[in-house]
């Protein structure tokens, strides 16, 4: 082998190694997102439910032909449950589409909860009487089936009577998970994106970077409004470059032709 190609190969290998080193960084930051993405397309069992008004139904019948947003809670929770439901309520009000595009179900996983507890919880967050919100309890085994299907865990602490559990919101469509959100309320933009997806918009389920130096079109998940950004100029650049290259090439050759 001659020295030039060898040097080129070495340079290529070094470039590859140098570029590969930071490549793992973005993937490592997405642990939570991966846990959520594992739930996508999981089938959720169609369990019987008892609603706050005393009626009984099944999960599939409650959803009907629309997607269903499911949040897990229990009435005596001194932690995340009520803030989680309030968070869902506020985001749903902001984004809209409730009733027309999807319904919400708050499902208790505490077999000590009663129909009266469900009504109390609904009243506490101001949605009692809303036809598009449902609060439900179910048999212990039935809840366990649903929880098992979506990796939702809960453990009762005998000392306090409180449950140790994560905060989980599921978007179901035709009995399958289309999106899941794990974690405490706070970063509500992702939740709003989830609701946009339930309204029929395509939102990638993987996490996309938030702070981009050069955006194309900015999207406000609160209002659904879009705003053009500077990155859009990069989409015009190829056409301008092509026209410029053609003009320069033909002008240069034209001079040669005339000179000849």
């Amino acid at each position: 082998m001659r020295p030039e190609p060898r040097r080129a190969l070495v340079a290529l290998a070094m470039l590859t190694l140098a570029l590969a080193a930071p490549c793992a960084v973005p993937a490592a930051a997405d642990g939570v997102s991966r846990a959520e993405s594992r739930l996508v397309d999981r089938a959720v069992p169609d369990i019987p439910l008892r609603l706050a008004d005393g009626r009984t139904t099944r999960l599939a019948a409650l959803a009907g032909d629309r997607p269903l947003l499911v949040a897990f809670f229990y009435r005596r929770c001194a932690g995340v449950c009520t803030p989680l439901l309030e968070w869902v309520r506020d985001a749903v009000r902001e984004v809209g589409g409730l009733g027309a595009d999807y319904r919400v179900l708050a499902l208790s996983f505490d077999d000590a909860d009663t129909v009266a507890d469900l009504r109390a919880q609904a009243r506490a967050i101001g949605v009692l009487g809303s036809p598009h919100w449902s609060f439900a309890i179910a048999e212990r085994d039935a809840v366990a089936q649903v929880a098992g299907a979506v990796d939702f865990w809960y453990r009762r602490d005998p000392a306090t009577g409180q449950y140790d559990h994560p905060a989980l919101v599921l978007a179901l469509d035709r009995g399958r998970v289309v999106r899941a959100m794990l974690g405490a309320p706070g970063g509500s933009d992702r939740f709003r994106e989830l609701v946009w997806e339930l309204r029929g918009a395509f939102i990638p389920f993987y996490r996309v970077p938030g702070q981009t130096p050069l955006a194309c079109i900015a999207f406000d998940p609160r209002t659904g409004a879009t705003r053009l950004d500077w990155g859009l100029a990069l989409l015009a650049l190829p056409a301008l470059a092509a026209v410029g290259a053609a003009l320069v090439t033909f002008a240069g050759a034209g001079r040669h032709r005339r000179a000849a």
Partner: protein, 474 residues
């Protein structure tokens, strides 16, 4: 006997080796989807990536190589740049093979951001994939610019785009193939620059960790990929304009309609790719409507004018039918048929239903295989036969053309039926509720094998002529 440029013959050899291998990968994928190869299921996505990038790349360079050979009649492309294009393509293909077979890189031929960084494959394989695209893109950009330079050495920009015909003048005479090649090369530069910008953004993220905007990257990827595929087709059509008149015994001249239509293509092809972003809520609605209108509009100047022109050319002509003219005619038909599927898919209300189904591979396989592949292999046979002047076996040629047509259209039909029955694309294995997808896949694999058989017979017929042509190559 007409001598062929040796570089054209080398491009043929590359195509003749790679295409059957890539067909086998396609048959493998449909067999996995049919449930016939469960032990090899793990390779589905790496092979999907190789099949997609490989097919697009092979047929793009094959079409450009044919265009360069056509141009050589009227202008003088640089032989050195031609050699660089071959060398760069070989290096790019080797890098692609390395990242797929050694690194199991499997982000698909769209490699939509941020997927290359999110998969289970090692980081180095994503980098090698990007380096492979860089080598290929940079080489092809230089090649395109050199071919433009060659055209510019004979024509002014206005002449090469046929604008003097609009003023009622026909001097200098501009062959329609040169007009189409000029339009395609200018648009190719735009597509390849879009690819360069996209790759630079990928590298910047790798080097600095600063994330990119997913929508910007998706726009750039489709500006690059979709436009390049379209242009490969247009170059294939240019071959038909150049060669089909020889078999019809009539000229196919440039006129005002041809000039207007192909100049319109130059603008339309650069915005048609927006139809790939219908599902992205953030993409402004006006761009989506531009995508739909441009997709419809691109069918009128290019396809309607060309198909109408081809029919007039052949109608009541003393047509000399051989393998080349048959495949040219079939190629134009396949382009039109695939175009109908594409127009349906580019309709927003239909795309909502069809976008993630096998309808999408259905239409692009139709215009790639029954359109571009037929046009290019027709040209390959034509130049080899011109050089070899060998006696032609009409029955054998009709048989192999029949096998290729039956195999191809049977294969497409399974995709179309699957798409119409909501079978999703990019599934390696179908769940129970999509079991009908597995049945279509099995039948499709059989049809693809039939097409491969036809192509092997084509290779036998053309290969003999290729060897003689190589002996007399210039």
């Amino acid at each position: 006997m007409r001598a062929v440029k040796s570089q054209t013959l080398y491009w043929m050899a590359i195509t003749f080796v790679l295409f059957p291998v890539l067909i086998l990968l396609g048959i493998y994928m449909r067999s996995v989807q049919a449930g016939a190869l469960p032990a090899l299921e793990g390779w589905f996505y790496p092979m999907m990536t190789l099949h997609g990038v490989g097919m697009v790349g092979v047929w793009y360079v094959a079409a450009v190589a044919c265009a360069a050979n056509v141009l050589a009649k009227y202008a003088a492309p640089s032989p050195a740049i031609g050699r660089l294009a071959i060398a760069g393509t070989v290096v790019g293909v080797l890098l692609l093979l390395a990242c797929v077979f050694l690194g199991r890189f499997a982000a698909g031929w769209y490699f939509l951001y941020p997927l290359p960084f999110k998969g289970e494959w090692p980081a180095w394989s994503a980098v090698v994939f990007l380096v492979s695209l860089t080598v290929l893109g940079a080489t092809w950009l230089v090649w395109s610019l050199d071919l433009l330079r060659a055209i510019a050495a004979r024509y002014s920009l206005g002449q090469a785009l046929g604008w003097h015909y609009l003023a009622g003048r026909s001097d200098p005479v501009l062959p329609p193939a040169v007009l189409i090649i000029t339009v395609s090369l200018i648009a190719s530069v735009a597509a390849l620059v879009a690819g360069v910008i996209m790759l630079v953004l990928f590298y910047l993220e790798l080097a600095t960790g600063a994330p990119n905007d997913a929508l910007l990257m998706k726009n750039l990827i489709f500006f690059f990929g979709h436009t390049l595929v379209n242009l490969a087709l247009y170059l294939g059509v240019a071959l038909a304009y150049e060669v089909l008149p020889e078999y019809a015994g009539r000229p196919w001249k440039t006129n005002k309609v041809v000039v207007i239509s192909w100049n319109a293509v130059l603008a339309i092809v650069l915005v048609a790719y927006f139809h790939h972003l219908y599902m992205d809520v953030v993409q402004p609605g006006v761009l989506l409507y531009i995508g739909q209108v441009a997709s419809y509009a691109s069918a009128i100047p290019a396809a309607v004018v060309t198909i109408f022109g081809a029919l007039l050319l052949v109608y009541r002509a003393r047509m000399r039918w051989n393998l080349a003219s048959i495949l040219f005619f079939l190629g134009l038909a396949g382009w039109a048929i695939g175009g109908v599927g594409a127009v349906i898919d580019s309709t927003i209300s239909a795309n909502v239903r069809l976008h993630n189904t096998l309808w999408v591979p259905a239409h692009f396989h139709t215009y790639m295989v029954a359109g571009l592949v037929f046009l290019v292999v027709a040209y390959f046979y034509h130049v080899c036969q011109e050089a070899a002047a060998a006696p032609e076996r009409t029955g054998y040629q009709k048989l192999l053309a029949t096998l290729m047509v039956l195999g191809a259209y049977g294969f497409f039909l399974m995709f179309y039926l699957s798409g119409a029955y909501s079978v999703p694309r990019r599934f390696a294995a179908y769940p129970a509720e999509l079991a009908h997808g597995a049945i279509y896949s099995g039948i499709a694999a059989a049809f693809a094998a039939l097409f491969l058989l036809g192509f092997v017979l084509y290779l036998v017929e053309t290969g003999k002529r290729w060897r003689r042509a190589l002996a007399h190559a210039s």
